[in-house]
C-alpha cells in the first residue's frame, strides 16, 4: 500500500512509530567528522523527522545496531557467570539503502546460517524490521548495479523524500495503522533505485580463480606500501563481520570482569597473530588480497548465491590513502583472465 505524506506531517508519523519502535537511521553528527568543522554521518536513534539524514551517504553502516562495536557477552566473578542483557529489547525500525538491505543477508549468512546460529546476533536481529531508503541518484564510488544490489523487493516500508513530500510503500501490514493515523494520501508508490553507476566492476568468475596463482600475484605488492593498515575499509563495510574476544578484569576488583567481543579488521596489525609471535599476513598487500578474495570469491564459494561485497563503495569513500577497492576487483579480474589464458 502506498502513501504520500507532506514533510511537515512527518514528525507525527515518527512520533507514532516511536510509541512502539526504536527508530534507527543515518544521522548527521555536527562537528564530529575526523577533521575540524566537518560532520559525521552515521547511525543513531532518531527522535524527529529532521534527525533523518537521507541526502548524504553514511560513512558507517547499520551493522552497529545488529552487531554492537563493543558488546559485552557475559560478566564473571569467581565461579559465577551472568549473560549480559541485550542493549535493546524493544522492536526497532532500521532505515537502510538497497545495498545495505542486501548486506543484511550476508550478515545473516555468517551469523545464522554458518553452523550454529549466534545467540547474541539472533536476539538483536529478531527485533529488527528494515525500511528501504530509495536512491534517487548514485553516490561517489557506488557500484551496486554491477553487484546486483541496486534493487530491493522486500522491506517493512520504503521511503523517498522529494519536493517536500515523503513517499512510502508499506509492505508490512502491521505497520499500515501508523500511516492511516496521520494525514496521508493513498497512491501507487514504488521506491526509487538507480540503474547505473559511474564506477563499474568486472567480477572474476570463481572457476577462473586459481588460488595458488593469485596468492603470489604481483598485483598485491603495490598495496604493501600504499595501504597503512588502518582498517577503515572494514569498519565501514556493511558486510564485514569479524570480531575479537577480550576478557577484561575490572581495575578495582580483579576477581570480577567481563568478556566482550569487539570488531576486528583483517587489515589491522594483530589479526593473524598466533601463539609464539607468528603472524600469517604481515604485508598489507597480503591482507588486501585476503580481503578482496573474501569479498568477491571465498564467500560466494561457500554460500553460492551471491558475492559478499554489495558495492556500497564506503571502503573507497573512507580510505585515507585513496585505495580503490572497486579498482582492485577490476585488477583481480584482469589478472585472473591473464592467468587462464597463459
Amino acid at each position: 500500500m502506498g502513501y504520500i505524506i507532506e514533510n511537515k506531517n512527518l514528525d507525527l508519523l515518527i512520533d507514532k512509530l516511536r510509541e512502539d519502535y526504536l527508530v534507527y537511521a543515518p544521522m548527521r553528527y555536527k562537528g564530529q567528522g575526523e577533521f575540524s568543522d566537518t560532520d559525521s554521518i552515521r547511525y543513531g536513534e532518531i527522535k524527529k523527522a529532521s534527525d533523518l539524514e537521507l541526502e548524504a551517504k553514511s560513512e558507517h553502516t547499520f551493522k552497529e545496531i545488529l552487531m554492537p562495536i563493543s558488546e559485552t557477552l557475559f560478566y564473571y566473578t569467581e565461579d559465577e557467570v551472568k549473560v549480559a542483557e541485550a542493549h535493546n529489547t524493544k522492536e526497532a525500525l532500521v532505515f537502510v539503502r538497497s545495498c545495505d538491505l542486501h548486506s543484511l543477508s550476508r550478515l545473516d549468512n555468517i551469523y545464522l546460517n554458518n553452523g550454529f546460529g549466534d545467540f547474541y546476533y539472533k536476539r538483536l536481529r529478531d527485533k529488527l524490521k528494515f525500511v528501504l531508503i530509495g536512491c534517487e541518484k548514485s553516490y561517489d564510488n557506488c557500484f551496486c548495479v554491477d553487484m546486483e544490489t541496486n534493487k530491493s523487493d522486500k522491506y517493512a516500508f520504503s521511503i523517498d523524500i522529494r519536493d517536500g513530500k515523503a513517499y512510502f510503500d508499506v509492505q508490512e501490514e502491521a505497520l499500515l495503522k501508523y500511516f492511516e493515523s496521520v494525514e496521508s494520501q493513498k497512491a501507487d508508490v514504488s521506491p526509487l533505485y538507480v540503474t547505473e553507476n559511474q564506477t563499474r566492476v568486472k567480477l572474476p568468475s570463481p572457476e577462473n580463480i586459481d588460488v595458488n596463482f593469485i596468492n603470489d600475484h604481483e598485483l598485491w605488492r603495490e598495496y604493501d606500501k600504499r595501504c597503512i593498515g588502518c582498517g577503515r575499509c572494514n569498519f565501514s563495510c556493511p558486510t564485514c563481520t569479524c570480531y575479537t574476544m577480550q576478557d577484561i578484569f575490572y581495575q578495582d576488583n580483579g576477581k570480577a570482569g567481563e568478556r566482550r567481543r569487539v570488531w576486528a579488521s583483517c587489515m589491522v596489525d594483530g589479526y593473524t597473530d598466533v601463539a609464539g609471535g607468528g603472524a600469517y599476513r604481515k604485508r598489507n598487500g597480503d591482507r588486501m588480497r585476503f580481503k578482496v578474495l573474501h569479498k568477491v570469491y571465498d564467500y560466494k564459494k561457500r554460500f553460492k548465491d551471491n558475492n559478499m561485497c554489495t558495492g556500497c563503495g564506503r571502503c573507497d569513500d573512507v580510505c585515507p590513502e585513496y585505495i580503490s577497492f572497486s579498482n582492485s576487483i577490476n585488477k583481480l579480474y584482469d589478472a585472473t583472465k591473464g592467468g587462464r589464458d597463459d
Binding site: Y29, E34, I69, C230, R232, S265, V268
Partner: protein, 322 residues
C-alpha cells in the same frame, strides 16, 4: 630640487626607506594570509605602473611592491584602495594608504578549510584580531597556527595562537585498534595509554593536537564542540635575546585572547622605554623589566577565563643572550 620627505610619516604609511635614495617600497598587508586571487591583479598593476615591476613575498605573508620612486607615493596609495577595501582593513582616511605600520600583518597557517590537522579557521580569527587592533603604531606581532605543529612559527611572536581540540572519547565505539595510542606516542605527547584494551586519556598531558581524532577509524574519538586555543607569549627574533614564546594559557577561548592582546596596548604605552629607538621595543623586553605580574595586571583586565582554561603563573623564557 632636493627631496624633503618625512621618513617617520613615510614609514607609518607602510612604505620603506630603502638603500637607494628616492626609491621606496610599499607593504601590502593580508591578514590571515589568504585573499581573493583577483587582488593579485591590483598588486601587479601597482608594481608595473608605479614600481619597478617586481614584488617580494614578505616573511609576514604580505606583498612588498618594490622600486617605487617617492613621487609615485600618492598614486600608489590611491591604487591600494581596492586592496584595502577588499581585505577590509581599518583605515583613517580613504585613498591615503595604510594608517599605521607598527602593528604588523597578522599571519596564519592555511587553517582548517584545507589542512586535515588544523583545529579552526585561522584566517577568520586573524581577520577578527586585525579588526580589533589595527591600525596602531606599536610594534606588535601576532600569528596564528591551526594546531600544535606550529607551521606558522607562532612561538616567535609577541602573541602566538595555536588551535586545540579537547578530544572526546566514546568507548563504546572503540575497536581497540590502537591507532590513537600509537600516533599520540610516536607523533605527539604520549597522552594516551591502553587500559583493558581501550584508551585512557591524560588531559593534563594532552596538547589538543587532535591526532587521536584524525587517526580514529571509528569516530570513537571526536572533537569538542567548543574550539580551544593555546596562547603563547613574548617570543621574538632579533639581536639581543631571541627566544621562543612560552605557554601562557591552555584551553583558552577566542574572546579572551582578543581581550588580552588589546589590553596589552595600554600596558606597552605605559611601560615602553621612553628612549626606545624608533619607538619600537619587543614587548618581551618590557615584560622582563616590569615583571610578569605587572604585565598580567594590565593584560588580564576584564578577562574572565573559562573554568577549563589553565593559566601558567610563572613563566621563564630562555634563548641566547648576547
Amino acid at each position: 630640487m632636493g627631496m624633503d620627505i618625512n621618513t617617520g610619516a613615510l614609514r607609518k604609511n607602510a612604505f620603506r626607506v630603502t638603500k637607494r635614495r628616492g626609491i621606496t617600497a610599499s607593504r601590502v598587508r593580508i591578514p590571515g594570509g589568504r585573499m581573493d586571487a583577483k587582488l593579485l591583479g591590483e598588486i601587479q598593476k601597482i608594481a608595473e605602473l608605479y614600481g619597478d615591476g617586481t614584488v617580494h613575498i614578505t616573511s609576514r605573508q604580505g606583498f612588498e611592491i618594490l622600486g617605487i620612486p617617492f613621487e609615485n607615493i600618492d598614486k600608489v596609495n590611491e591604487a591600494l584602495q581596492p586592496l584595502i577595501d577588499e581585505l577590509d582593513i581599518n583605515q583613517e582616511k580613504r585613498n591615503k594608504g595604510y594608517s599605521a605600520a607598527g602593528t604588523r600583518n597578522i599571519t596564519a597557517c592555511i587553517g582548517n578549510t584545507v589542512c586535515p590537522y588544523a583545529c579552526y579557521n585561522t584566517t577568520e580569527f586573524a581577520k577578527k584580531i586585525e579588526k580589533e587592533i589595527f591600525p596602531h603604531n606599536l610594534h606588535f606581532k601576532v600569528a596564528l597556527t591551526g594546531c600544535p605543529n606550529d607551521c606558522a612559527k607562532v612561538r616567535m611572536h609577541d602573541f602566538g595562537i595555536q588551535g586545540m581540540t579537547m578530544p572526546q572519547l566514546d568507548k563504546s565505539r572503540c575497536v581497540s585498534c590502537g591507532a590513537c595510542e600509537r600516533v599520540c606516542r610516536k607523533r605527539s605527547v604520549k597522552a594516551i595509554t591502553m587500559v583493558n584494551n581501550k584508551p585512557e586519556h591524560n588531559l593534563e598531558k594532552c596538547i589538543g593536537c587532535g591526532l587521536c581524532v584524525v587517526n580514529c577509524p571509528m569516530r570513537a574519538w571526536t572533537r569538542s564542540e567548543k574550539k580551544y586555543y593555546k596562547l603563547v607569549i613574548m617570543g621574538r627574533t632579533g639581536k639581543k635575546n631571541p627566544r621562543l614564546g612560552e605557554d601562557f594559557l591552555k584551553w583558552a577561548d577566542e574572546e579572551n585572547i582578543i581581550k588580552i592582546i588589546k589590553n596589552t596596548y595600554a600596558y606597552v604605552t605605559e611601560y615602553i622605554a621612553k628612549d626606545a629607538p624608533g619607538g619600537k621595543e619587543h614587548i618581551g623586553y618590557i615584560v622582563d623589566r616590569t615583571g610578569m605580574e605587572e604585565f598580567k595586571k594590565w593584560a588580564m583586565k576584564d578577562v574572565h577565563l573559562d573554568s577549563e582554561t589553565i593559566e601558567y603563573d610563572s613563566i621563564y623564557w630562555k634563548g641566547p643572550k648576547y
